[in-house]
Amino acid sequence: MKFKRFTGSSLIEVMLAAAVVSVAVIGGISYRYYSSLDGRRANIHATTARVALMLCESWGGTNGSLTYDPVTHLDSDSLTITADDGPAAPADFTTLSSHKLIVSNITCYATLSFKDVDTGLRALNVRVAWQRRDQSDKDLSDMDSVFELNSYVCW
């Protein structure tokens, strides 16, 4: 008399279950990792955009003066600005100055440039370069993103 009893799971079943669980775990970890990373990137992006807006508006407040210097006007305990290299200015624009800025431990590099488009009309350009992945103190060559603002002033 033969008794053919299947008890437990076969190797294939166990491996399939392990594969499904692995995919679920890796998916969950990846979701959390990228959501955290995107949150940090958004924070850096928003901060650098505000820095660019501040530079653009403060320079615009002087009607695009060619003696405008962010180090003199804006440097403070919470916002460190020093003269340094910066991203390249757009074609046909003349570079006024380039700076390294540190705010909330986020480092970015900015270049201010201008172009006289007509008599008494000047286009101001502010380019801010920042690094999406790492916000620690880095060189200009490590920056991988650029935020740009343009403004026009009468002078």
Partner: protein, 168 residues
């Protein structure tokens, strides 16, 4: 006739039970850690978006922007150290000169705005728009004004940078 033997295994052996128990504990521990960590991550993300310092930062930016942009640059004044900024603006479309003022200043960790009339110079109200201020400095460059504000609460520190251009 020989006796027929049935060697049927029913139930689980001790080894099987121990292995199942160990695997169960590992899965339970893993899921628990995952849940706790997810909850912590959610709280961190929530506080990054909706904590008091973040909402205060948003309100401060909007308030500074709305007041400074309607102000006349010729009538504004600022402290040499940048500890306060006073801007003047028109009460309505019938005003020929600025008749109201708003003064931004930090006091005892609060960022306040003092509203009042210019003629006679009289304070009408003081509004606190932000607490937990660590550092606040105002700048004025030409016709534009800037505020660099650092707030901190529960080890979360935020630096708010805002800028606005006044009219003539």
């Amino acid at each position: 006739m020989p006796k027929q033997r049935f060697n049927l295994k029913t139930g689980l052996t001790t080894i099987e039970l121990m292995v199942a128990f160990a695997v169960g504990i590992m899965i339970f521990a893993g899921v628990t850690v995952l849940l706790v960590d997810s909850q912590r991550g959610w709280n961190r993300m929530y506080s990054r978006l909706y904590s008091d310092v973040v909402t205060d930062s948003f309100i401060v930016r909007k308030t500074f922007d709305s007041i400074v942009r309607k102000s006349a640059s010729a009538y504004s004044s600022i402290d040499d150290e940048g500890s306060w900024l006073e801007v003047c603006y028109y009460a309505d479309e019938f005003s020929v000169v600025p008749d109201l003022y708003a003064r931004f200043y930090e006091s005892d960790g609060d960022l306040n705005i003092e509203y009042g009339t210019l003629d006679p110079k009289q304070t009408t109200s003081v509004q606190t728009i932000c607490s937990n201020v660590v550092n606040c400095v105002f700048k004025k460059v030409g016709t534009s004004a800037q505020m660099i504000l650092t707030t901190e609460e529960d080890s979360q520190q935020i630096t708010t940078i805002t800028s606005a251009v006044m009219h003539n």
